[in-house]
């Protein structure tokens, strides 16, 4: 029924009627206006500000923790723009990408650490990584000649699995011609699950990088170079051919574009960026572990690319910043509490369309009132369901604990029965919300928001490490359903 109605009101894509009204379908609401403004900023300004603004961080703070977060963020930005080459530019689902990050990191560990006794200088290691990374990128890209879509995705995922198996079991690995050398190493080639530590600081022709600030600027310079290179590439005939390949592979081939070569080029370009990033990261950390090559990192990167808008360089970099900072904030319960309320303050106005501040105020007021009412009822009926202490920051503690339901005497490690039930109920409520339309959705939003706040304080904050990944998963599904082009991307049209 609902399907039929929608088809009657919106003319079918590509039909003349639809073409004629294309200008009228501009987005309304606050989010739409923000996107419009963003679209008017010239690409050069966007990209420059992505380098200049982060460059100010070490001038503002010398706090080790904050600098470390800044470095991690820039590393994620590099990885995300690299992944964007295959996924965004060329439309190829590369699930083996993270392996290259690990490859670069472990290569640095092999050539510049006490583990092997080799202490190569940084430029030499980077050169080795670039060359071998390209070769490996071509190799992993090869299946793309025969496989598309799902098959390609799964083969590249197997590559990631194979690589991670090698790292974990590498302490027993033997290589032809190197048996004697490997036998001498403590803990075999890769030292297995223990990883390799005590890597050299990067040695640039005698100048050793030791401080976090130095590594931050090194990563930022690498990011700036990658950004400029990818931007130029995207606006060249190769970038055009990648887009053509993404849109219509067969037509691209028949219009003279060597599709197979272009696919390899996309894989290899991204792979090199990931491998070099891995090298920088390994040197900064001073250690490498097989856990840096797992599906979790991969999903995180995909969430960054999708959130920002696959194919849009600046968008992807911003997606990386947002997710990297959010993940860091969620690492400890004391910060985690804030994330929910900040995210809510940012997304709630965007959810209300057409934009009216009165409506938002009404929604917030209703949710707060609803919360107090529910809490009062529960307190009377089941006192154990209220009065627990939230783990969040003290400043909002009192306020929150007098509003949400929090089971008393809970241990933070074990989710409470209340929390578990509310979590499942929240999933059902959110799914239900997607089915409702118009005013009903707004009304249903009130209890859902309150439920979300309860779930947040009961389970998600105490278990913030797991929460991060639940959110990433939900983000991928939600973005694909609601805005596959990303928060900042332009609407794309698909005719199947």
């Amino acid at each position: 029924m609902a399907e039929g109605e929608r088809q009657r009101t919106i003319p079918r894509i590509g039909v003349d009627e639809w073409v004629a009204t294309v200008e009228e379908r501009v987005e309304r609401g606050l989010a739409g206006r923000a996107r419009e403004a963003w679209g008017r900023v010239p690409a050069g300004v966007k990209l420059a500000s992505l380098v200049v603004v982060p460059a100010l961080v070490p001038l503002l703070t010398q706090d080790d923790y904050l600098l470390q977060v800044a470095i991690d963020t820039v590393v994620f930005m590099l990885l995300a723009v690299g992944l964007n080459v295959a996924v965004g530019f060329a439309g190829l689902l590369d699930l083996g990408y993270v392996a290259f990050f690990g490859f670069g990191a472990y290569t640095y560990a092999m050539f510049a650490s006490d583990h092997t006794g080799l202490h190569f200088q940084a430029p030499l290691v980077l050169l080795i990584v670039a060359v071998t990374g390209t070769a490996l990128g071509f190799l992993v890209g090869l299946p793309s000649w025969r496989l598309v879509g799902d098959y390609l995705a799964i083969v590249t995922l197997f590559f990631l699995q194979i690589f991670s198996t090698i790292l974990v079991n590498g302490d027993r690995l033997q290589l032809p011609f190197l048996e004697k050398e490997i036998a001498k190493l403590d803990g075999g080639l890769t030292r297995g699950p223990n990883g390799i530590s005590n890597l050299d600081p990067m040695n640039w022709l005698g100048w050793k990088l030791t401080s976090l600030t130095q590594y931050f600027y090194l990563a930022l310079i690498a990011f700036a170079l990658a950004l400029v290179a990818l931007h130029s590439l995207n606006n060249s005939r190769i970038g055009r051919a990648w887009r053509a390949l993404r849109e219509e592979p067969l037509a691209a081939e028949l219009m003279g574009m060597p599709v197979n070569w272009l696919k390899l080029l996309a894989f290899a370009t991204g792979s090199v960026i990931a491998a070099l990033t891995g090298t920088i990261f390994a040197a900064e950390q001073g250690a490498v572990f097989p856990s840096s090559v797992d599906v979790t990192v991969l999903i995180t990167l995909y969430a960054m690319v999708i959130l920002g808008g696959a194919g849009d360089l600046a968008g992807v970099a911003i997606g990386a910043i947002v997710i990297s900072v959010a993940l860091e904030a969620l690492r400890t319960p004391s910060n985690a509490s804030w994330v929910f309320y900040i995210a809510l303050a940012l997304t709630l106005p965007a959810l209300v369309r057409p934009w009216r501040w009165q409506l938002v105020a009404l929604l917030v007021g209703a949710t707060v009132g609803f919360g107090f009412a529910v809490r009062a009822i529960v307190e009377a009926a089941w006192p154990a369901g209220t009065g627990g202490r939230p783990l969040g920051e003290a400043s909002i503690d009192d306020w929150v604990s007098s509003w949400v339901l929090l089971q008393r005497n809970a241990t933070p490690e074990v989710p409470t029965a209340l929390g578990k039930t509310a979590f499942v109920a929240l999933i059902v409520a959110v799914l239900g919300l997607t089915v409702l339309k118009g005013r009903r959705r707004l009304v249903a939003l009130v209890p859902t928001l309150y439920l979300a706040a309860c779930v947040w304080e009961n389970v998600l904050v105490p278990q913030s490490a797991v929460t991060r990944y639940i959110i990433l998963g939900a983000l991928l599904v939600g973005m694909m359903a609601a805005r596959p082009q990303g928060l900042l991307g332009k609407t794309r049209v698909e005719i199947v």
Binding site: T165, K420, Y469, L476
Partner: protein, 311 residues
């Protein structure tokens, strides 16, 4: 040749293989109809294992269940099938249906996200430790102590149960697909979705049915794995899912007999890998390499048909 070892590996291969086949069937049915690789399918299977664990706990645990041992197993399997089929249908409705008209990469990313979401939700709700089925205690250890013995050769009861349940499911599925109206609609939709829709087949319903049936089989598989390995954990969906997908591809994705055959091939390959690599550390690598080779050199699988590109 050590026949005793060979026989026990063969039994192990058949057990694992029949579980892979059950999961592979769900992959294959969904792929046949939607051309979608449902990454979250492995996690549906994992949820099945957890439902089984919940049921055995609710029935008083394996040591002293309130109902007879056979009823425990039946209830676990049934509950997991019901729960997982609902989960599968929900997934389809909310994660995949909105993307019917989207480019192929979109549902894949959605599936990846759904898989990650399910896995971590289970981790959040139940914790990271292995959930023990304690099947060793069921009916005084009968599942492991009893069985069929021919001299040195021994098949334990639990493996007989697993293989028998899997075979029964597959027979039932074949009946559904080849003998009922719904099965006919499924095959028609898999062959050509648009034409099927024009012939008056409710394609959305058929897709939902495929998710329903496929997820039910995966749920049953989750319980079976819990029975013969003794425990389940939130991470098992990933590995079993990948292997089962491998099985579906090796057999020829979209083909139901292919999924069964592929499951057994992978099961035996994994079991006999012990001959090449007794440490079992590289076993997964062997299986995955096998898959990469099949995909590149015979993407249509053992029993699949090659596709003709339409212009």
């Amino acid at each position: 040749m050590d026949w005793e070892r060979f026989f026990s590996l063969t039994v192990d291969g058949a057990t694992r293989g029949s579980v892979y086949a059950l999961i592979a069937l769900g992959f294959s049915m969904v792929y046949g109809i939607l051309k979608l690789l449902n990454f979250a399918h492995g996690d549906v299977f994992m949820v099945g294992g957890f439902i089984g664990w919940g049921v055995i706990g609710a029935l008083g645990g394996a040591t002293s269940p309130v109902v007879p041992a056979w009823a425990v197993i039946v209830l676990m399997v049934v509950a997991a099938m019901v729960g997982c089929s609902l989960l599968g249908v929900t997934l389809e409705r909310f994660a995949y249906r909105p993307l019917r008209q989207a480019p192929r990469i979109a549902p894949l990313i959605s599936a990846l996200g759904a898989s990650f979401f399910l896995q971590n939700s289970v981790l959040l709700l139940f914790g990271a430790d292995f959930k023990q089925y304690e099947t060793i205690d069921l009916a005084g250890g009968a599942l492991y102590l009893q069985g069929i013995d021919w001299g040195a050769f021994h098949i334990s009861l639990v493996r007989i149960v697993v293989i028998a349940v899997a075979i029964a499911m597959m027979v039932a599925l074949s009946g559904l697909v080849y003998r009922t109206q719904l099965g006919k609609a499924m095959r028609a939709t898999a062959y050509d979705r648009e034409a099927a829709a024009m012939m008056g087949i409710d394609v959305d319903r058929v897709i939902m049915a495929a998710f329903f049936v496929g997820s039910a089989l995966a749920g049953a598989a989750g319980v079976l794995v819990g029975l013969f390995t003794g425990s389940v954990n939130h991470f098992m969906g990933f590995n079993f899912g990948l292997k089962a997908f491998t099985a579906a591809v090796v057999g020829g994705i979209g083909s139901i007999p292919g999924a069964m055959l592929g499951g057994l091939v992978i099961g035996f390959a994994e079991a006999y890998a012990a001959y090449i690599d007794p440490s079992l550390r590289w076993r997964d690598l062997l299986v995955f390499s096998l898959l990469v080779l099949v995909m590149i050199f015979r993407p249509s699988g053992l029993l699949g048909r090659p596709e003709i590109q339409k212009v």
